[in-house]
Amino acid sequence: MIHNRRGMILVVAMVAVLVLATMTAGYLMLTQAQVKRTEVAEDAVSILNIAEAGVAGAIQDLREGGTGNLNAVIFGNGTYSTVTAQSGDYYTIQSSGTLGTWSRSVEVVIQQVMGSASVSVRAAIQADTNVTTGGNFVVDGRDYDYTTGIRTGDPGKYGISSTGTVTRQGSSMIGGNGQAPDQTTTQTEQNVDWGPDGYQSSPDEKVGAAEGTLKAAAIARGTYFTSGAQFDAWIAANGGGDPGGSIVYVECNTWISVNLGTAIPGSAPSILVCHNADGNMLWKNIHGDWTGLIMPDCVDHENGTSMIYGAILCNSGQLGNAFGNGTATMRFSANALGNLPSPTDDTFTKVSWREVL
């Protein structure tokens, strides 16, 4: 039997080519898969890092008074979105990093640790220069609970402590160290020597913070003012009084006719700084209420119907400090000073971390 085998070798060659093509295609596909896996791995690493960046972004937002909920924030080659839920002092932040259509999420639980300013005082009024009281001004160094306005029973501190002299005039009264205010200066401390470090010259130093901390904190909170008028507008915008927990920094040369507004019941203690770079800002004719710590450079008559709980720590104002001519009252309050807002950020502690699958 004779077969026509013309062209058979071409068929064999084509089969060989087919086999080779198949093998090469397989090799190509394997490599493509490897490249794809690498791309996926690269994206996975990028996305996870974007998600981690989202956690940081959410915490930063919380610190700035936000909710910690951020939507599609551009970061790296993708975006992150965060959802934050609060339960007491705990925040659960779920952050999703997205690149193209792929996302990875991490969930971090953090605990907020509230900061607090630390201040140590010797008296209800403390100054680095001479102090004069007059009119019907009353300074009481005995300890008061600022929430009730009632004495705690603790003898408290001196009424006034000064590196210079204390002069009592008119009907003004000074008390402290368990003694009710009277028209003597027995509850004052005069010509006080603060030792080799000297009197704490700046507001920051008085609360144990680095220079510039209080000002930065006020700026960050929108309570840094360069005039009394700006402060007045802020008080008016807050219902006529300090809302509490504030760090207010007023920086100018002279602030006349100060009105601190009316105390808002239940509000937390605050810090008020009246200070300029030369340390001689004049704080004059003060009215209104304040709870917490006040740090003016120099005071020229706290009067009117002012009621202050906490302490006033005057700077080394060259003009001296005069309190009085009205019915103003200054009461030392340990719990007001113990609950001051922190000039530094609240801190957080990482409690847990997990990737949400």
């Binding site: 004779i2 026509n4 085998r5 013309r6 062209g7 058979m8 070798i9 071409l10 064999v12 060659a13 084509m14 060989a16 080519v17 080779l20 093509a21 090469t24 090799y27 190509l28 490599t31 493509q32 490897q34 490249v35 896996r37 690498t38 791995a41 690269e42 690493v45 990028s46 996870l48 890092n49 974007i50 981690e52 960046a53 956690v55 940081a56 972004g57 915490i59 930063q60 610190r63 700035e64 924030v73 551009i74 970061f75 790296g76 080659n77 953090i110 930065a216 700026i219 960050a220 909170r221 840094y224 950020d345 801190t347 957080f348 502690t349 990482k350």
Partner: protein, 175 residues
């Protein structure tokens, strides 16, 4: 093909023409496939190198994050290029560069963003408050940052001497 031989018998086999055509076809195919092999091998090699670079980058980002959790204020000093500010003494910190295991030509670099005016939209700059002082124009927050964005880059030359690069972005915050 069947041909008659000189002895009159049929002889089976392929003509020279057939063999040559088949050889040409096979050769073209083989050459084509063989030309693909180095390219594909290179792709595979590069993919492997990228994996190594990414693994090293991720390892470093995790190290930075762990460092930040315990000594946030020192992260910049520990992972910047200067050695004189290393937290535990000159030359004791990891620094801004790192090597990649299995990739001898690779250079890994950490870049921190401490200038609020820098133009890098990938980390939200410019005009971002990095030290929480209410301002967004500080030229150098390396001493008081409260959030620290960073980029980790690995560059290397592959077998074809082509420059390859991976980069990841992230940020750490002071808890």
């Amino acid at each position: 093909m069947i041909t008659k031989g000189r002895n009159g018998k049929n002889q089976t086999g392929f003509t020279l023409i057939e063999v040559m055509i088949a050889a040409v076809v096979l050769s073209i195919a083989l050459l084509g496939f063989m030309a693909l092999v180095p390219t594909v091998a290179q792709l595979s090699e590069t993919a492997g190198e990228s994996n190594a670079a990414l693994a090293a980058s991720h390892q470093l980002s995790e190290a930075i994050r762990q460092y930040a959790d315990s000594d946030f204020g020192y992260v910049y000093r520990a992972y910047n290029s200067a050695t004189t500010d290393d937290p535990n003494g000159t030359g004791t910190a990891p620094g801004a560069t790192f090597t990649v295991s299995g990739l001898p030509t690779a250079v890994g670099t950490v870049t921190f963003y401490t200038d609020e005016n820098e133009n890098e939209p990938k980390v939200g700059l410019p005009n971002r408050d990095l030290n929480n002082n209410g301002l967004t124009t500080d030229a150098d927050v390396s001493a008081d940052y409260t959030v620290l964005p960073f980029k980790i880059t690995v560059t290397w030359s592959d077998q074809r001497k082509l420059q390859q690069q991976t980069e990841i972005f992230s940020q750490v915050i002071d808890y």
